[in-house]
Amino acid sequence: HAALSRRYVLCEVVSEDPRCRQCIEDRALGLAVRDAIARVHGDYGLACCSISFTVKYLNAYTGTVLLRCRKDSYRLLCSALPFVRSLESRAQRYPCFLNTLHVGGTIRTCQKFLIQYNRTQLLRLLQNCTNEEQRQCIQKSLLSCSLTEEQSQSGDEEEDDGTE
């Protein structure tokens, strides 16, 4: 199966405007990324990256996005991601940028990374709390989350993963 190798690029959408969250959906993101590739790498780059290109996973709350592409063209994709400057959806455009978090060969490695990353992010949020009320809030939601084993292994990853 090495012939059909793919790369999964995990990134997060960062925006100062909270309304940008509503643009985090697969069509808007797919278009924004492909448009950036076309600008930076031209017709050739766009054609290369479009083979097997898809938005595999999205989380509008955390801004996490998982993109898939061919292994041969992942460098074209990754080098074009910094050129995504805004997202457009339903005639609304909001400025943002993409942070590349991880590039993996399988969804599973990206999932593992994301779980670890989210854990450290939650801890950092806790440390950055400015008042006691926020701190209590976060602690309560952390302590109240639990891990339920699903019958079907979906491969989707929940933000509140079972930490004690």
Binding site: I37, R39, H41, G42, D43, G45, S79
Partner: protein, 132 residues
């Protein structure tokens, strides 16, 4: 010689060969353009080459260091120099360029040389050789 007592087969010696690839490639090209229109001057010719690169290879392609070393407006032929890593991008971009100011055009690559432009200018060109 690898140090003795390492417990593994000693490497006899290590030879590094650095093949210094030519830094630039040179192309002699001619632009075929339908008659009856203004011919591009040197700056417009360069702009056309950059446009071709931008269409096929994007901003990265357009940023390739390409120089027009000589240009003859009468024959629309030129000698281009490009950094060797961008040679394939340039040639493919020239091949696929079809229009100049909404007029049909085509780049003909006459000669290609990886080392020196002087050899390019002086040498005979087997691509245009006509056998009786």
């Amino acid at each position: 010689r690898g140090p003795a007592g390492r417990g593994m087969a000693a490497a006899a010696f290590e030879r590094r060969v650095l093949r210094r690839a030519a830094e630039h490639h040179y192309l002699r090209v001619r632009l075929e353009l339908a008659d009856g229109g203004a011919r591009p001057n040197a700056a417009q010719f360069k702009q056309l080459v950059v446009t071709a690169l931008r269409e096929l290879h994007g901003e990265v392609g357009a940023a390739l260091p390409v120089d027009v070393l000589t240009y003859e407006e009468k024959t629309l032929s030129a000698i281009l120099r490009v950094i060797s890593s961008g040679f394939v991008k340039l040639w493919s971009a020239l091949t696929l360029l079809g229009f100049y100011q909404n007029r049909r055009c085509a780049f003909r690559v006459l000669q290609v040389k990886p080392t020196s432009p002087f050899l390019l200018a002086l040498s005979g060109n087997s691509r245009e050789l006509v056998l009786d």
